[in-house]
Amino acid sequence: MSSESRSRIMARVRHASLGQNAAAIEAQLDDFGVAPAAELPHDDTCVAFMINVLRNQGSIDVAPQRVDVVKAVGQYIYRHYRSHRLVAGNDPHLAAMPWRDGGVLPRFGEIEPGEPVALSYAQWGVAETGATIFLSGRNNPARNNLLPEHHLVVLDVNQLLPDLESLWQQLEPAITGAERPRALFCIAGPSSTADIEAQLVCGAHGPRAWHVILTGEVRQEQLDTALDVLSSKKNPGGS
């Protein structure tokens, strides 16, 4: 049974391992240093993040103030559903938004099947991958990230990190604490598949669209720069 298998497997693994002590193993691991990260597509971390979000089939709104955020959310839902309803996680940042100014009626809590739009507050963004990062918890039901047709994410640009190594540094207190978060989600795009004839289709099982609303010290010109970089990469001969 399982415990016998455990002993057998452990014995075989021990036999095939080097038998070093913990201190030697940890020292060796430290010597390997840090893995190289992907080159950022722009010197400005925020622009680099935007470029990667767009490459990941995401879309972006720039909303420096809280009132801009609610307006952006309101316009987005109206554009797609002619509606002003959405489900939002219990995150205090979201609860504190002036929703009425944008004509939005959020319901706070867990998404129910059939509800088309959910809004989440991302704890961080990673420029290297263009990902928004969420820790599971009371304020952030996992299903809100997975079940809607449109997943809207608010991210404060102060929370942007250059690469995955900086993310692990930020996570350190949470994951070394007594109770680790159940889940950590790095979401970088709408759900997609290329399983039929290798053709990319968005909306495989999860959201069909992933929209990132950047707030804080962020300017529209940064988004324009990101769009310019992408269009010049697509048409290298163009002006």
């Binding site: 038998g19 990667n52 680790r180 159940r182 889940a183």
Partner: protein
């Protein structure tokens, strides 16, 4: 899964004869290397990353006893139940037991090559459970009653017309248009959504296990694995010992290599890390989580000269770059893992006798080793397997006799040169007019399929000598 590798040659011949399928494989073989190359270029110093990860993977395997014990401790503290399975059948029975303890009826599964290896679906079905594969590719082949043809894109051998026919036949949804690929994806989405919501048990694999914290990493684009991991009340993660890495940053370093090598993306849509069951304050997530660690020969491979094979991160790049895989298709390999990585793993996880054709299905072109993000010397491992076969007298007596004769002649340079010079000069004279041969005695294996070009007259050694004399 039942081993069919004994029939590799017969199946490869049949696969080549299916022109439409062969054309689809050719198209993939042209497309996938291009997207991978672009992603690798865009990364920057990909080689430095590859070497870094190789050092970490080697270190993890060298000290697997330490990291395995650490992972078990952390995962248990996180609230998981950790199980060990020595064999495929043991994994299957552990999983069925868990399902039965919960009176489960329906299981939603994320993509997992490990459970393909153990044949879990059939086992659970025999135990009375309804098992739904939720990765689109896996779902398609499950509906078609087939096995995966590729470790990353299990249904890439199917055309959209074939998928359309399949869905029209299997889904009782009445008259409807399923013209485009997005229509097909949309239909699978709506059918599978209900299964996700109704499933009692979710089963997923893991791309990495993190010893320091007990998290497991799951990398997907569809998000189906995450739905399986978050909606049902019980989650079972089925994986193998060799997925263990020391730290979170090591897992994301592997992920950097994996996405670019597998699909040529800079990033997959979902990279998730799971530590255990729902916390008290949480609204959702499974109430109970299990991690089943399968060995199934891996600890033996760890102790063998083939240890490097355990560094494989299952990206599929070696398949996409292999001329034999492209020509013969994944199903010809007759088991779960096809292509170069499969030709090494299948014999190691089964028997050298029953898989004798696989290590020989190699042109030694070396493309697999060039692109392998784990830097596994696949052609060398395949050669070592062939050597082992010959030492253990595996393969047809005629073939072994031929090899022995060749080795005997090749070990005598004077005789070798004499014979090759003679034979080449005769063939040159005979074939000069046409430039090639349709048929040659003792070489029907070659000439049955293609012409043999007539030699240009002088052997390499003759030309080399002549040039050296000229220079002097």
């Amino acid at each position: 899964m039942e081993l069919q590798s004994q029939h590799f040659t017969r199946k490869a011949v049949a696969a080549l004869a299916d022109e439409a399928a062969a054309a689809q494989r050719d198209a993939m073989a042209l497309f996938t290397p291009v997207v991978r190359e672009a992603a690798v270029q865009q990364f920057g110093d990909f080689e430095a990353l590859r070497q870094h990860v190789k050092r970490i993977r080697r270190h993890s395997l060298d000290n697997l006893d330490y990291y395995l014990a650490r992972f078990e401790l952390e995962a248990t503290n996180n609230g998981n139940q950790v199980h060990y399975a020595d064999s495929a059948s043991e994994l299957n029975s552990i999983v069925l037991d868990i399902c039965q303890q919960h009176d489960a009826r329906k299981v939603a599964k994320g993509k997992s090559m490990v459970t393909e290896e153990t044949g879990l679906n059939d086992y659970l079905k025999r135990g009375g459970l309804e098992v739904i594969e939720t990765d689109l590719g896996e779902y398609i082949i499950q509906q078609a009653g087939e096995t995966p043809s590729h470790i990353v894109g299990p249904a890439l051998h199917k055309s959209k017309e074939q998928v359309r026919e399949l869905f029209l036949e299997k889904h009782a949804l009445g008259e409807r248009e399923l013209e485009s690929i997005s229509d097909l994806v949309g239909e699978a989405r709506s059918v599978l959504r209900d299964h996700f919501l109704q499933a009692d048990i979710g089963i997923i694999g893991a791309n990495a296990l993190i010893a320091e914290t007990g998290y497991s990493m799951l990398v997907t684009n569809e998000g189906n694995g995450d739905l399986c991991a978050n909606l049902p009340r019980v989650l079972i993660i089925c994986t193998t010992l060799d997925r263990i890495l020391p730290r979170g940053e090591d897992a994301t370093a592997v992920q950097r290599l994996l996405v670019r090598s597998a699909t040529g993306q800079p990033q997959t849509c979902y990279t998730s890390f799971y530590s255990g069951p729902r916390r008290e304050t949480e609204l959702d997530g499974p109430l109970e989580t299990h991690i089943v660690l399968l060995d199934n020969q891996r600890s033996d491979i760890l102790a063998s000269d083939y240890r490097e094979m355990l560094q494989c991160i299952r990206c599929g790049a070696c398949l996409n770059h292999c001329p034999i895989f492209t020509a013969s298709g994944g199903h010809s390999y007759g088991w779960v893992y096809p292509g170069p990585m499969g030709s090494v793993l299948t014999p190691l996880l089964n028997s050298l006798e029953d898989t004798a054709a696989l290590p020989n299905a190699c042109t030694s072109c070396g493309r697999c080793a060039e692109v392998c993000p784990a830097d596994i010397p696949l052609p060398d491992l395949l050669r070592d397997l062939r050597h082992q076969q010959s030492q253990e007298n595996i393969g047809s007596p005629r073939w072994r006799m031929g090899l022995r004769l060749h080795a005997w002649v090749a070990a005598r340079p004077g005789l070798y040169q004499f014979l090759t010079t003679r034979v080449m000069s005769i063939l040159n004279k005979l074939g000069r007019r046409k430039g090639s041969f349709h048929k040659l005695p003792f070489a029907s294996g070659w000439t049955d399929q293609r012409d043999f070009p007539s030699p240009q007259g002088e052997s390499f050694m003759q030309q080399y000598k002549a040039r050296r004399d000229d220079r002097e």
